[in-house]
């Protein structure tokens, strides 16, 4: 396994995928040899000095803690890290859509974490284990840190991160769901978490079946009409981001608190949860006997 870079950047910056490419060597991807950090720092574009959000140290400490706590079970790290990363790195969606931040976090601040979390299973012979380059600089639903941040953003219910933990505890859910734009509708995201929590659909096959059924029905239905969402005031989020300057480190034992945004209307979540559960009853799921 590779170590953290000898030279850790003090601040997050912007690292374009093209500039990052020469550092994604075969040795790095195979977990043999990391990079020193000095040369990488030269190709990073700085973010504004005065903004306290770009300090890298709190993020690195979070990574150290998660590495320690989940040494034996790396897939469980997602549910722990997603809400904490989201609360520690307070971004607007507009900022989070800039992949260069995520490239720098992965390659500059925590390449050892990316390699540890996403190395292909060691059972296939440790010499052959390899990390996909997309975990360092890929699409938002593949890249190691952006997938967690976006999962937290899409599944949090206003300030409440508890649904994020449920969603990220199920690899099939975040894998399948994050690629679809269904969860862009907040009530749909919350209803999916409820269905998962209720134990109606839990295995990968069941979740794929459920998602296929929701997608098929969604081709003729407009879920927004069945389950309305609240207007989120942009100033609530801006206030939370400004508070980053004085916020203490994110709690390690309790869940952090997100921005004080309007939660999803409970009635909308209930309506859709019931609707999805009914859909799932009749959905064809591989390996399940057809229901009468």
């Amino acid at each position: 396994m590779i170590e953290q870079p000898h030279h850790l950047p003090p601040r997050l910056g912007l690292l374009s995928a093209t500039a990052a490419d020469p550092f994604l060597t075969e040795d790095l991807l195979r977990g043999i040899q990391g990079h020193g950090g000095v040369d990488l720092a030269k190709v990073v574009e700085p973010l504004p000095e005065e903004d306290p959000r770009w300090r890298a140290e709190p993020l690195r400490e979070l990574i150290d803690d998660v590495l320690h706590q989940f040494k034996e079970n790396r897939t469980e790290a997602d549910a722990w890290l997603a809400p904490r990363l989201h609360a520690a790195l307070r971004l607007t969606r507009r900022e989070a859509a800039d992949r260069r931040i995520w490239n720098h976090l992965a390659l500059g601040v925590a390449p050892d974490y990316v390699a540890w979390r996403h190395a292909s299973a060691p059972s296939s012979g440790s010499a052959d284990s390899r990390v996909a380059a997309a975990r360092f600089k890929g699409s938002p639903d593949r890249q190691c840190f952006s997938r967690l941040w976006w999962a937290a953003e899409l599944f949090r219910n206003g300030r409440d991160y508890a649904p994020v933990v449920v969603a990220c505890s199920n690899q099939d859910l975040i894998h399948t769901v994050m690629r679809s734009d269904l969860v862009d509708h907040r009530p749909t995201a919350q209803a999916l978490v409820r269905v998962l929590q209720s134990g109606i659909a839990t295995t990968g096959r069941e979740i794929n079946g459920l998602m296929a059924a929701i997608n098929t029905a969604g081709a003729t239905l407009v879920y927004d009409a069945m389950a309305a969402d609240e207007w989120r005031d942009p100033e609530d989020l801006r206030r939370w981001i400004e508070e980053a300057e004085t916020a203490p480190p994110v709690p390690r034992h309790e869940l952090p608190t997100g921005p004080e945004e309007e939660p999803v209307p409970e009635k909308s979540v209930e309506t859709l949860t019931k609707y999805f559960a009914d859909l799932f009853e009749t959905a064809p799921v591989r390996g399940r006997a057809p229901q009468g």
């Binding site: 500039a19 030269k42 969606r93 953003e153 862009d184 907040r186 239905l221 407009v222 069945m226």
Partner: protein, 331 residues
């Protein structure tokens, strides 16, 4: 052709933008004039007033339903009209319900709020007419056939591919990754959110030529170079888009939700003519990942790029200008 197991309207909803205003951090509103939106381009440009830090924009909408929607004997009830704003870059979905202007009117209106912090570049705006049909709530009975584009940064309401042009010295730039390319007059980076052309100012006189509005021959050469760069950009973004496709479990590729998707939809009709966009994408993906036909496709990719870049026209203009100067020299 999509199949609907219930009665629908077979004509689309018409959608117009009627007003645009920005909410500023001091809580005042700036009402933008009509140059902020274009009906033929179906685009709203929120950067037109050059406010750096607006909070949200309110876009006034007016939707016209096709005939039959509000007939008393229509096979549906609880008719509602929703405007939906979506953004593939930021996973945002904002919905607002429009109100009927008068009982039984086909005109519905309202306003949708666009949060600045929720968008990077462009978002898509559509209108859906929804009703209870055969006892099922929330069914879509018709919608707009082309989305409006809400561009949160553009200063002019123009459609088409956006690209960033940056001028820098490749040998002295803080972007150290450019140094190995010191011999190139420009390079294209299609890996980011928007394609970027980096122009090498180490080539003497190059940036004067590109920046100048001197007229005559210089202008024509300037145009030709721009169209050359645009050809390179279109080619690079096409390859970057098809090289990074998500694949469904059944193996069929998915259109990317960002500008890569726009690029593919625009270029595919020239790359694989005569096929629906989804089928064309499948064929391109198969040729790239399978064992045959990728090399043969390159001519068509190049053709699609050259067409979009207006290469023929800019070449013709240079040739005409050359002829003219030659004639003047001789006389």
């Amino acid at each position: 052709m999509k199949f609907y197991p219930y009665k629908r309207l077979n004509r689309p909803v018409g959608l117009r933008v009627t007003s645009v205003s920005l909410r500023l951090p001091d809580r005042t509103r700036d009402h933008l004039d009509t140059s902020a939106f274009s009906t033929p381009q179906r685009t709203v440009a929120l950067g037109v007033a050059q406010h750096e830090d607006w909070l949200s924009a309110r876009i006034g909408l007016s939707a016209t339903l096709p005939p039959g929607a509000t007939d008393p004997d229509a096979p549906w009830s609880d008719l509602r009209v929703l405007a939906v704003l979506t953004d593939g870059d930021t996973n945002v979905r904002t919905t607002v319900e429009l109100r009927q202007d008068a009982p039984e009117s086909k005109e519905w209106s309202g306003a949708i709020e666009v949060r600045r912090d929720d968008h990077v570049g462009r978002a898509d705006l559509a209108v859906h007419a929804v009703a209870t049909v055969d006892g099922v709530r929330g069914r879509a009975i018709t919608e707009t056939d082309t989305d409006w584009t809400i561009d949160t940064t553009a200063e002019e309401p123009l459609g088409g591919l956006r690209l960033d042009v940056k001028q820098t010295s490749f040998t002295k730039s803080a972007r150290e990754w450019l140094r190995p390319y010191a011999d190139a007059p420009w390079v294209v980076d299609a890996s980011g959110r928007l394609p970027v052309v980096m122009v090498n100012t180490d080539v003497e006189g190059f940036s004067d030529l590109l920046g100048g509005e001197t007229g005559g021959m210089e202008n024509r050469v300037h145009e030709l170079l721009l169209s050359q760069m645009a050809t390179d950009v279109w080619t690079a973004v096409f390859h970057s888009a098809v090289g990074d496709l998500e694949v469904e479990p059944d193996g069929s590729p998915v259109f990317p939700s960002d500008w890569r998707g726009e690029v593919l939809r625009e270029m595919l009709p020239d790359v694989v003519p005569g096929l629906r966009a989804e089928d064309a994408l499948r064929q391109v993906h198969r040729r790239r990942t399978g064992d045959a036909g990728w090399a043969e496709l390159q001519t068509r990719v190049h053709f699609a790029a050259v067409r979009r870049a207006g290469a023929r026209q800019s070449l013709a203009n240079v040739l005409r200008a050359l002829q003219q100067t030659n004639r003047e020299d001789r006389s």
